[in-house]
């Protein structure tokens, strides 16, 4: 059980790192928009191979013009 005298202080150091990481996250605004990021990553429209972003046909002539 003597190993606990080493492991627990080690755990404390890890705890310190966790606290520091959390503080950093709060400071850098990671908690400001909790929903947006989740959706944003799904809309990867920057892929050049995805063709549908380009209009393939001119829009129908509208009858009010």
């Amino acid at each position: 059980m003597t190993i606990l005298y080493l492991l627990i202080p080690l755990g404390l150091i890890l705890l310190g790192i966790a606290v520091w990481a959390f503080m950093w996250a709060v400071r850098s605004g990671q908690f400001e928009d909790m929903e947006g990021a989740a959706h944003r990553m799904l809309m990867d429209d920057d892929d050049p191979r995805v063709p549908h972003s380009q209009p393939s046909k001119p829009p129908l002539p509208r009858d009010d013009k």
Binding site: M1, L15, E35, G36, H39, M43, H52, P55, P59
Partner: protein, 825 residues
């Protein structure tokens, strides 16, 4: 959300019966309901952003009314005097930044669409939308692009953006949120670690543990609990100290007292190596309490954000005329009596005054409740705050600031707010008696144990305080209120004052205003009288084609009822204040005022008994049709009234409009108690009369004239598109503008109150049964800890049932209300 074949692909509204609007999106022709949606959808397709329709999870807002209104005001935002309020210039003088509020964001795809579209504009440095708050951060190069152009681009894709005063509350909220998160994190991490060691210690005391090791564990626990007790729990000590200083006992007093006592006792136990430690209980207690407060704060901020979103920086600007008729745009506050101002159609009259030139009709509905625009000409008085409708007016300012009619209403409002019956105080009083009782009980227990066994006294007292720890009690009400507030928010009802839900549950009378509340508050095409050879559809087609180029409010009303494809017009000409003319299929048509449109030497019979606003369509030989406009009733008004009746609430209608009109509306939706031609103070008097009879009154209104009575009623709701003043004086804001949500809100508030009562009785029951045991010394600290946590958890879970109220949907089409959950309440 896919749209059915008979609804607009863009906004999901039903398609007009005769109309035909369509946009080709991803190679498929999609139907649109109106020219507004068509324009927005076309702009999205033209900018290669049609992916939006694949990503979106909710229908867009309808663009029908949004576009013309938005376009009108946007240009003013370039005014440097106005910009000074909300624009920040960065280190590079060309680069400017501001915060915008985006209206119309319904799903994540909207964020994507607006970011894509705006980022691509030349001169935009950064444009980033926060999905949670619907705010956008905008940075642009003022030498390349104007702010109004960016706002215009946003409105082209169907959203309405307006700047907000970035300095105001945003920063305060952000700091407060960050601080609360830090405290919560420390408490969470700390309590987990301490709990882990506590489990080892409990197991050790059962199975045997090395004394050295146990001692070491206690020291480590103390080390980790100390920041939690000193840093995370700091707000409780502050609040308790504040309570003690003003001699008002709040929940924070026993909380702080038990924390300090338990901590000091544990500290003593650790240092002297005798007695029990409570570090696990207190850290967990702090963590629970902080979580509750954090949720509460977030709901409050969200409400604040939404409320702030409505504080549009509406340009309070006036066009002042110099002696040589030179126009100058100045803030309204700089106006002085005797100065001449010009008021363009659609603008707000900046102050009270007398018209010196021009002839127009003026919409005073927000000030008086009068639904039909009033004709005003040279020599007539106009009231500041009313809207000029038809043609430009020039007036001499007579009164400004405190002397205006608007300011008088404001004073009435202030008085009503001061006299508002305050309920919150009563609740505090009850809580403070409870706290006092607990403290006295603890003192009695301490005294008894002092006599019986002084060595045990401290531990028992701490046990009593921990067990009676008003955790569940102090969570019971706020958690339920937060859940209800969030639920209401999802329905589109914003709660701005704390007491609103509680008071709403006791409502016996609901009083409606008419103009803008039961009706839409603006003119819409009511009826058409055909007097020529052409049929209705043709007349409508001609009229909308001619009015398309006009900014006139009646033209907009005409366009919004357009159902036919647009005809091509040649040689379109607008005569300000008179009407429009143009050539369609070789015939010259005129539309507008009678004197303008009517061909000379042709008599035209106009039904003089009709009070509604009208415009006349004519060709060179005859009058073809007369269009009458009227403020239309909201479709769901009758359903809302019925819903309120079903809840056993009486419904009344108090309006400033003429009695005949009020009577008509009251009959149409089945309200039996109504009055018209009331001044703002009459309305207040009526409500006071009801209150004296012991009734609890909820008032629903939108106008400036409603503000005093909104403040006077025990609980009040303002319409989302209502005036600022009305919203400020109301306890809740009906952002959805859907009247059937009012009975829903009342039903929900009744449920909330029931859950609060359940929570409170559970908490009291638990405390009452646990206290004697603790007082007799039977309850060990870990038992107290588990009991406290379990009772808190139960209270929270019970409250969360509120956010899962099923079957509260209100179908738009038939206007019936599903109140399965309300029926139980």
């Amino acid at each position: 959300m896919t749209s059915a074949a008979n609804s607009c692909f863009h906004c999901g509204q039903p398609l007009p019966t005769h109309g035909h609007y369509a946009v080709t999106i991803d190679n498929a022709v999609q139907p649109m309901c109106c020219p507004g949606c068509q324009a927005v959808a076309q702009a999205i397709v033209d900018n290669h952003l049609s992916d939006y329709y694949r990503y979106r999870t909710a229908n867009s807002g309808t663009a029908r009314e949004l576009v013309p209104e938005a376009l009108q005001k946007i240009a003013v935002y370039d005014n440097p005097k106005l910009q000074a309020q909300f624009v920040i210039t960065t280190d590079d003088p060309k680069i400017q930044q501001t915060s915008l509020i985006l209206e119309g964001i319904v799903c994540a795809a909207c964020v994507w669409l607006s970011e894509k579209h705006i980022q691509h504009l030349a001169g935009v440095v950064e444009f980033r939308v926060n999905y949670t708050t619907h705010r956008a951060f905008l940075q642009w190069d003022s030498s390349l692009i104007k702010l109004s152009e960016i706002l215009q681009a946003i409105s082209a894709i169907g959203y309405l953006a307006h700047p907000l005063d970035a300095q105001r509350q945003e920063e305060v909220f952000k700091r407060e949120r960050a601080r609360a998160l830090r405290r919560l994190a420390i408490a969470g991490l700390g309590s987990m670690q301490v709990m882990m060691l506590a489990v080892a210690l409990y197991a050790g005391s059962y199975a045997g543990i090395d004394t050295e090791l146990a001692h070491f564990f206690r020291w480590v626990s103390m080390l980790m609990a100390t920041p939690v007790v000193l840093y995370s729990a700091w707000p409780f000590y502050l609040a308790a100290w504040r309570d003690v200083r003003v001699r008002q006992l709040g929940m924070d007093v026993p909380v702080a007292l038990s924390l300090i006592l338990a901590y000091v006792a544990s500290l003593w136990a650790t240092l002297t190596q005798q007695g029990d430690i409570y570090f696990d209980s207190i850290t967990m207690f702090i963590f629970f309490l902080l979580s509750g407060r954090y949720l509460e704060m977030q709901a409050r901020h969200r409400a604040g954000d939404t409320a702030e979103a409505m504080v549009k920086l509406i340009p309070a600007m006036a066009t002042r005329l110099a002696a040589n008729d030179q126009e100058e745009i100045i803030p309204v506050s700089e106006l002085a009596p005797g100065e001449r101002v010009r008021i363009k159609p659609g603008e707000t009259v900046p102050a009270d005054g007398v018209i010196t030139a021009g002839r127009s009709s003026v919409d005073e509905s927000l000030l008086t409740g009068e639904s039909v625009p009033q004709s005003r000409t040279r020599g007539d008085r106009v009231i500041g705050g009313s809207t000029n409708i038809e043609s430009p007016l020039e007036m001499t300012v007579e009164k400004v600031g405190q002397d205006t009619v608007l300011a008088a209403i404001q004073q009435l409002l202030d008085r009503a707010q001061r006299e508002k019956p305050s309920l919150a105080k009563l609740a505090d009083q009850v809580a403070s008696y409870f706290v006092l009782a607990i403290l006295i009980f603890a003192a009695v227990v301490a005294l008894s144990w002092w006599r019986i066994e002084p060595g045990q006294m401290l531990w028992v007292v701490v046990s009593v305080l921990v067990v009676s720890c008003p955790c569940a009690l102090s969570l019971a009400t706020p958690v339920a209120l937060v859940a209800a507030t969030n639920r209401l928010m999802k329905l589109g009802i914003l709660t701005t004052r704390g007491h609103a839900i509680e008071t709403l549950s006791r409502v016996t009378h609901v009083v409606f205003d008419k103009t803008g509340t039961l009706t839409y508050g603006h003119l819409q095409l009511d009826s058409v009288v055909i007097s020529g050879p052409l049929d209705l559809a043709r007349c409508l087609a001609l009229a909308t084609a001619l009015e398309r180029g006009s900014e006139h409010p009646l033209a907009k009303a005409m366009l919004s009822s357009a159902t036919t494809p647009m005809l091509a017009v040649n040689d379109l000409l607008a005569v300000p204040g008179q009407g429009m003319q143009g050539e369609i299929d070789g015939v010259r048509y005129r539309i507008g005022r009678l004197e303008y449109s009517k061909p000379e030497n042709i008599s035209c019979e106009i039904d003089a008994t009709r009070v509604q606003t009208r415009i006349i369509l004519a060709d060179p030989t005859q009058v073809l049709a007369v269009f009458y406009f009227q403020d239309r009733l909201r479709e769901e008004a009758a359903a809302a009234v019925q819903g309120l009746r079903d809840l056993g609430v009486e419904v009344m209608l108090l309006s400033g409009d003429r009695t005949a009109v009020v009577e008509q509306v009251a009959h149409a939706i089945g309200i039996t108690q109504w009055s018209g031609e009331l001044t703002p103070s009459d309305k207040v008097a009526r409500v006071e009369q009801l209150q004296q009879q012991g009734h609890v009154v909820a008032m629903i209104g939108d106008g400036i004239n409603d503000a005093p009575v909104l403040a006077r009623a025990q609980v009040s709701l303002a319409m989302g598109k209502g005036t600022q003043l009305a919203q400020n004086s109301a306890d809740m804001v009906l952002l959805s503008e859907r009247l059937p949500h009012v009975p829903l809100a009342i039903a929900l508030s009744r449920r909330t109150l029931r859950i609060i009562r359940e929570n409170l009785s559970w908490a009291v029951l638990y405390n009452v049964s646990a206290l004697p045991l603790a007082a007799m010394g039977f309850i060990t600290p870990w038992m107290a800890g588990i009991g406290m946590s379990a009772s808190s958890l139960l209270v929270v879970l019970n409250a969360l049932r509120l956010s899962r109220v099923e079957n509260t949907a209100v179908p738009l089409a038939n206007g019936t209300i599903t109140l399965s959950s309300a029926a139980k309440a």
